[in-house]
């Protein structure tokens, strides 16, 4: 819970004959995070000696082809089989099946597409001719004029203005017969003398002339009549083709659903094998697995291939080379929901504390302190519970967010009792602790105090992380290490003593503050010194001195801004009461005698507070967690643990 799962590095060498069996075990168990070892092949830089990349590509192509057929028949892939039942299939076995399905689907699909295209063209022709329905003239005669140039056709509506500009130098007539957002049916006319210019302008404006087939001749109304009949026939043909596809769907649905998962599993298997290192008669596989699963995994590997050579190396958290160790966070229950907030900021490194438990405690507390109201808190908690229950289909994907909202709502309820506030009414309940609106200074000072405690926890955790990583320089001299901690508390002592009028000698704080300040300034060199790393100063003394001064200045500013940031906790607690008071004033202005209008404003105002203020407080809480608190001790940058599997899996 406090750290990412302990991981073990696994290296195994398996004989070529057992490759498939071993890979199946590695993928089937769903715990092995594979590392690309293809560069360790005996012929690095060429390939791993086998055709796995090509096979993976073949499977990917087959997968796409099956998907295309499924799409044409409107068949869903369905749920994946259980991980231990994922079955693979040979390319040579899958291909004929895919081709057979494609053949059946393609013929029917192509005929359907052809009829649909025809229907589209018929409608387009109809659209172009309908405006001319009243003209009693054979359309064929229009194109036989000796002196005049005519063109009836459809063009993008956006080009209408441009074609007129382009023809500005010659006489022409452009009539828009019909126009919608996309298309315009136009009739372009001019003299035959300018036919070339007109033709070029029409072509470059994408004016596509109407070309009637020989079967459609006569006056516009006659052609329109023929078109209607043709449309009816085509529609009938489409219905027939749809019936054929429906029957094919029934025949092939089961087969396609089985096939898609087998091809997919085979593709993932081939992709995994392409990342193995190929030695002469063996394959080298490298990766990671959670230490808790290693024994079971190695047992199964030995069952699959008695001659497999296995080397497992459990990884110590204090190892300095932990960059590539994948990080698996497995936080149970409510912690799982708050884990999302941590990974949104950064994934912890392997040797680093997983701050999920900490954010699970502090996030609802900070939220509740800013949004303390029994009524509003309960509304939030109920809304969150509704989302968690997954009863609203549209919000199912937000279930983990619902858990956070519930926790925050319950915390707000608790603080509501402490503040004596319910639905913005500040005097209906006794305040078990304090009424923020009436004790503004106290609540603000308390908020800063809470911030100082949280930041101090951050310092301690930072020092602990450095201790675990054996990073003594950072532990002792960093601005988030011991030196920073001493400096921070010395300054608090100085300021607190002066403000509270305590008679503590200032020198007791000044000496440690100066000493710690010097350590922070020189942290880089001091760290180099204890790590025996030379040179102690990089980039020249002058640059170093300037950097050191600014480092200290930035640290001091950081301390001040980090601490004062927590004022917002108190400020929002006060603002909550103030906002509620405004709602009551507005309601009173709408209806003096507390009629229907009064209660409508109260209801809308409370909705606004729960929605809008709730959102703002949520954002502010996240800000305090991320920028003030996490930045003290949490570095992040860990690699995500992605176990090898034959089926797609959800991310943690």
């Amino acid at each position: 819970m406090f750290y990412p799962q302990a991981m073990t590095e696994i290296q195994l060498i398996a004989p070529s004959r057992d490759l498939l069996a071993v890979t199946r075990v590695l993928a089937g168990q769903g715990v092995f995070h594979q590392v690309d070892a293809s560069s360790l092949s005996s012929q690095p830089g060429i390939s791993n000696g086998d055709s796995w990349p090509e096979q993976a590509a073949s499977y990917a192509t087959l997968e796409r082809r099956v998907m295309a057929s499924m799409q044409a028949l409107n068949v869903e892939a369905g749920p994946p089989p259980a991980a231990d039942r994922a079955v693979t299939i040979e390319v040579d076995v899958a291909r004929p099946q895919v081709e057979q399905i494609e053949q059946d689907v393609k013929n029917a699909g192509a005929q359907l597409a052809g009829e649909q295209k025809r229907l589209e063209q018929l409608h387009s022709t109809l659209m172009q001719l309908e405006p001319l329905a009243g003209i009693d003239l054979d359309l064929a005669t229009l194109g036989k004029s000796h002196y005049m140039f005519y063109m009836l056709g459809v063009m993008p509506a956006g080009n209408l203005e441009r074609i007129q500009t382009s023809l500005a130098r010659i006489p022409f007539v452009l009539m828009t017969l019909r126009k919608d957002r996309q298309n315009a049916v136009v009739w372009l006319a001019g003299t035959q003398h300018n036919a070339d210019v007109l033709d070029r302008a029409a072509r470059s404006a994408y004016l596509n002339p109407l070309n009637l087939p020989d079967t459609l001749q006569g006056t516009p109304s006659q052609v329109i009549e023929s078109l209607h009949a043709e449309i009816k026939r085509t529609q009938q043909a489409i219905n027939e083709q749809n019936a054929v596809l429906s029957s094919l769907r029934k025949t092939h649905q089961q087969q396609m659903q089985t096939l898609i998962w087998r091809v997919r599993a085979s593709r993932m298997l081939a992709e995994a094998m392409a990342r193995f290192g190929k030695l002469r008669y063996t394959y080298l596989m490298v990766g990671w697995a959670p230490t808790a699963n290693v024994e079971n995994l190695t047992q199964r590997l030995r069952q699959a291939s008695p001659s497999v050579l296995l080397e497992t190396t459990p990884i110590n958290r204090s190892d300095t080379e932990l960059q590539n160790v994948p990080v698996s966070l497995r936080n149970p229950g409510i912690l799982g929901a708050f884990q999302m907030l941590v990974t949104t900021y950064a994934r912890p490194r392997y040797g680093e504390l997983d701050p999920t438990w900490l954010i699970t405690l502090t996030f609802p507390l900070l939220f509740g302190a800013m949004f303390g109201d029994v009524g509003h808190g309960l509304v939030l908690a109920l809304l969150g519970a509704l989302v968690v229950s997954r009863r609203i289909p549209a919000l199912r994907s937000m279930a983990s967010l619902g858990a956070i909202v519930t926790a925050c709502g319950l915390s707000a309820t608790m603080f509501g009792f402490l503040y004596g506030s319910i639905f913005g009414v500040e005097n209906a309940l006794p305040a078990l602790w304090i009424r923020p609106m009436q004790n503004i200074m106290e609540i603000l000072l308390f908020a800063i105090g809470a911030g100082v405690i949280l930041l101090s926890i951050g310092f301690v955790l930072s020092m602990y992380n450095s201790f675990v990583a054996r990073d003594w320089g950072k532990l002792l001299f960093d601005h988030n290490g011991l030196a920073g901690f001493v400096l921070y508390w010395s300054l608090i002592g100085l300021a607190g003593g002066a403000l509270a009028g305590l008679h503590i000698p200032a020198i007791l704080f000044i000496i440690p503050a100066v000493a710690a300040g010097v350590c922070v300034m020189l942290s880089e060199s001091l760290s180099h010194l204890i790590a025996n790393h030379h040179p102690l100063v990089e980039g020249g003394i002058g640059t170093y001195a300037v950097q050191a001064v600014f480092e200290l200045f930035e640290t001091l500013i950081g301390f001040l801004s980090n601490s004062l940031s927590y004022v917002r906790v108190g400020a929002f607690a006060v603002a909550h009461g103030g906002l509620s008071a405004v709602v009551f004033i507005l309601a009173g202005m709408v209806s003096h005698n507390q009629g229907l209008g009064y209660w409508i404003v109260i209801a809308l105002g409370n909705l606004f507070i729960v929605g809008f203020e709730g959102l703002i407080v949520g954002i502010q809480t996240m800000r305090l967690e991320y920028y003030e608190f996490f930045s003290k001790f949490f570095t992040g940058g860990g690699t995500r643990y992605k176990p090898m599997t034959l089926l797609p899996v959800a991310e943690d």
Binding site: D36, S39, P44, G45, T61, R64, A68, A113, V154, M155, P156, G158, N159, E161, R162, I163, T165, S166, L167, R169, Q182, V197, R200, A201, R203, S204, A205, Y206, N208
Partner: protein
């Protein structure tokens, strides 16, 4: 209202400023230009904000094309961040600007089909749009013909545009009408997005996007006349009637055969030596385009001075980022071809 603008743009402004600081420094450009070879260049880039993207691929797989693809991923991420953070009213403009890469991808796919390229040859030429694309690029390439590929675009914003141009493609067997139709449609929609903004944002967007549009429109008109020998009516139909500094009269004058250096000087009075540059039109045009791109970069940089809470800042950042990647592409190709510094340095915009 200034107060509202500050609230709306505070977050995006802070984020963009931070990302702006991540653009390559002058010192880094010098170091990159002086890298001994492609390996050295990539090693240096790994120390910059492009590092995480390049480190995702093993060194041996990092071909010039793949390296460019990886560094483009950073721009894709930056664009996604910016689009998510800008105020809702301005999001359509950013989204439409981002579609520029989708249009480029669509053109690259169509070119790939025409040249008979495989998906593996095409995929790393494309801009990495991830899931933010409506193009079924692989299926289109595998369709093997342009007509079939265009049919796969049904339901996307591109189908209607291309269906108007398809009769010409079928007759001429050239991608030219398809590409022109896509470009015109793209810029028209971008212009419409700008016209829907409030006055302050519109003015700032015009400065950045308008400069880009002007450059494209002018270069199209000149190229159609000089390289393609198109007629006046064709040049007019293949260009746009609007712009920031470029007026429709300028485009019509170029189409009608007017003196190009005189028109360029009128539009861009700050551009010096246009007469000398365009003395030989065919060879001078690439240099003119570079000059205009530098002008766009200047417009973008100027968006970072003065009152900062407007759409111009994020727009300018993404355009500058794109120009930076254009330069990096030049550098990567130059280093892989072992081109001498004096040959490629003149092609760089940002360095």
């Amino acid at each position: 209202m200034p107060g509202t603008d500050v609230t709306r743009y505070a977050a995006i402004h802070a984020r963009v400023r931070a990302m702006y600081a991540g653009l390559l420094t002058e010192q880094m450009w010098v170091a990159l230009s002086e890298a001994s070879d492609l390996g050295g260049l990539v090693s240096l880039l790994k120390e910059t904000t492009y590092g995480p993207y390049l480190l995702k691929v093993e060194d041996r797989a990092l071909t010039p094309r793949r390296a460019v693809y990886q560094i483009k991923s950073r721009l894709a991420d930056a664009f996604t961040t910016v689009v998510q953070l800008v105020p809702a009213q301005t999001r359509p403009l950013l989204t439409q600007l981002y579609r520029h890469f989708e249009v480029a991808n669509l053109k690259a796919v169509l070119r790939g089909i025409m040249t008979g390229a495989s998906w593996d040859q095409v995929r790393y030429v494309l801009f990495p749009l991830g899931s933010l694309t409506v193009l079924p690029a692989q299926a289109m390439v595998e369709a093997g013909n342009v007509t079939g590929a265009v049919e796969l675009l049904r339901g996307t914003p591109y189908y209607e545009t291309l269906s108007h141009a398809m009769p010409r493609f079928i007759t001429e067997q050239s991608l030219f009408p398809l590409e022109v139709a896509l470009d015109l449609n793209y810029w028209r929609q971008l212009w419409t997005s700008i016209s829907r903004l409030g006055s302050q944002d519109r003015a700032q967007a015009l400065r950045v996007v308008g400069a880009l549009l002007d450059m494209n429109n002018v270069m199209w008109a000149i190229r159609y006349r000089v390289y393609h020998n198109l007629s006046e009516e064709e040049v007019i139909n293949y260009t746009l009637p609007f712009g920031y500094r470029v007026r429709d009269e300028d485009i019509r004058a170029i189409a009608a055969g007017a003196d190009i250096p005189r028109i360029i000087t009128r539009i861009y009075p700050g551009l010096s030596g246009v007469d000398v540059l365009l003395h030989e039109l065919r060879s001078g045009l690439p240099q003119l385009e570079l000059q205009l791109q530098r002008h766009v970069a200047e417009q973008c940089r100027s968006a970072f001075t003065g009152y900062p809470f407007h759409i111009g800042v994020p727009l300018a950042f993404v355009v500058l980022h794109e120009l930076e990647i254009q330069d990096l592409t030049v550098l990567i190709e130059a280093k892989s071809a072992q081109m001498p510094a004096e040959e490629f340095k003149a092609q760089l915009l940002m360095a």
